[in-house]
């Protein structure tokens, strides 16, 4: 095996086995910090040894064994007495949890611990990317545009809180499960969105590293909880959004709106996979399971990605799905997105009236002004449209979106 092949093999094993190794070690040693460090050392040893020794037949087993030795070495080095060590152990609950429709997997405990509601949202995102995703601290710091030392401290503090406040290492009880799963999905969706509409003047408009990682982790949760409709919904939503990624930013770095995208450039495999998941959820809905918000959002994206041309879009279906979403989540942002679809069905005038009702709550949100600007433009009210574009440009944080808004404003007569 060439050195390049070995390196590719290690990268793949890292993707597949990192979370499993961390989870197994956390279970054994009751300490996230020891598990994380030992896993990192085991992978470093693989990088050192595999090019000469070859890739072992069971790479995951090799890594777990190596990491176990590293952890024991560290505990000995630090001269921690076994009883003292036990004191600080994570609460690991061995009573079998409610059947989840999947083989109980240690990685689930890890995910629920990293996404615990007692941790701040940005901490949950960072910790999940580190412990479950296996991203390094510098990678996570870059992803969220913070200093490496600050990100390192955030993760260290989180691990210390998990230990001292005794955040348990377990899958929540059936009673708490829906809320906790939706907490995990919220973390993954935020990671995805930060990648899909990256903010900051010096970042790429789309951060593929983050969207890909969010999808990979959502796939993992899907494999662990195949019966959960919202997990399937979120995965479908991400896939159908990711499918349009390359068509969404032009060569000159400008955002391309849905109606101007080259639909041939969409990733057909991702669209097909997303549609399969949406069909699965539609079948469940037909059987009486009411869909959650990710499933409805995925269905909306499925309608868009089913249209060969923008004019083929089934807008009445889109509006009907938004109506369903409003009943579930009556937030102004949902109402704003619904108005965009209403403009296509009932015309810009009706939509504008709906949008302007949101002025109280959304005046600080760039998409509110961008939507209003576009509707005013379509109604021929150029002067007001220009003012709305100005406001949207002032508030937008994504470079590609700013470029798009500036062009639309400058095209006004």
């Amino acid at each position: 095996m060439s050195e390049v092949d070995v390196r590719a093999a290690i990268a793949q094993v890292h993707h597949e086995e990192w979370a499993r190794v961390v989870a197994a070690l956390t279970k054994r040693f009751g300490d996230l910090d020891i598990a994380e460090e030992a896993a990192a050392e085991a992978f470093a040893t693989a990088v050192e040894r595999w090019p000469t020794d070859g890739v072992p037949p069971n790479p995951g087993g090799w890594l777990t064994t190596t990491a176990n030795h590293k952890a024991i070495d560290r505990i000995r080095r630090e001269n921690k007495r076994e009883d003292k060590h036990k004191e600080a152990q994570l609460v690991h609950d061995d009573t079998p949890s409610e059947p989840l429709g999947a083989i109980e997997d240690e990685r689930l405990r890890l995910i629920f611990t990293c996404c615990h509601p007692a941790l701040a949202m940005e901490t949950r995102m960072a910790l999940t990317l580190r412990m479950v995703g296996g991203l390094t601290v510098p990678e996570i710091a870059r992803a969220f545009l913070v200093q490496e030392t600050a990100m390192g401290q955030r993760i260290t503090r989180a691990k210390a809180k998990i230990k001292s406040a005794r955040i348990p290492y377990r899958v929540p009880s059936a009673e708490d499960l829906p809320a906790r799963v939706s907490g995990v999905l919220a973390v993954l969706y935020l990671v995805f969105n930060e990648g899909y509409l990256a903010t900051g003047p010096d970042t790429d408009p789309v951060r593929h590293d983050l969207t890909a990682e969010a999808i990979r982790l959502t796939r993992l949760i899907r494999a662990l909880m195949p019966e959960d409709g919202e997990v399937a919904g979120l995965l479908a939503l991400m896939l159908l959004t990711e499918a349009r990624r390359t068509a969404r930013v032009s060569a000159s770095g400008e955002l391309v709106a849905l109606d101007e995208q080259d639909r041939g450039a969409w990733d057909a495999a991702l669209v097909a996979e997303g549609h399969r998941l949406v069909r699965e959820r539609l079948a469940a809905a037909a059987a009486g399971v009411s869909p959650g918000r990710y499933q409805i959002l995925a269905a909306i994206n499925a309608v868009h990605t089913s249209a060969r041309e923008i004019r083929d879009t089934d807008w009445s279906q889109v509006v009907a799905l938004y109506d369903q979403l409003v009943r579930l989540d009556p937030s102004p942002i949902v109402a704003l997105n619904r108005a965009v679809a209403v403009a296509e069905l009932d015309g810009p005038e009706v939509a504008l009236a709906a949008v302007e009702r949101l002025d109280d709550t959304l005046a600080g949100y760039h998409a509110y002004h961008a939507t209003r600007a576009d509707l005013l433009r379509r109604l021929g009210r150029s002067q007001q449209s220009r003012a709305a574009y100005d406001k949207a440009i002032e508030l937008a944080g994504n470079t590609a979106e700013t470029a798009y808004l500036i062009r639309r404003r400058d095209q006004l007569g």
Binding site: V91, H116, A118, R166, I167, P168, P172
Partner: protein
């Protein structure tokens, strides 16, 4: 594992009779289910006296050590196996006393 559940008041004043009754019921539950260690009500911080005997002479200062609109008005000490259990209890405690609570583990 023991946790301090501090009750934070932001100027609401003393507990109403309804709140008192809810707190009593919650306390009974803590005792019946084995979570209870100790609890107490403090009221407003005005009568506090700060004592500092780090130097040669003890210094007494009238009033609380920090002036704040929000102050500790009472607390529970709860014995619980992990944070999930105590967060659930604290959620009920907050409802019972109709105030924010803060959960902190003892060392």
């Amino acid at each position: 594992m023991q946790y301090l559940v501090s009750v934070i008041d932001d100027g609401t004043g003393l507990a109403t009779p309804t709140e008192d009754a809810a707190i009593d019921a919650f306390n009974d539950r803590l005792k019946a289910e084995g979570y209870w260690v100790f609890a107490g009500g403090l009221g407003a911080p005005d009568p506090a006296t700060v004592v500092d005997n780090r130097g040669g002479e003890p210094v007494f200062t009238d009033g609380p050590f920090v002036e704040s609109k929000e102050y500790l008005v009472g607390f529970w000490i709860i014995e619980a196996p992990d944070l999930d259990v105590v967060l659930k209890l604290a959620t009920e405690g907050s409802k019972a006393c109709n105030r924010k609570v803060e959960v902190r583990p003892f060392l």
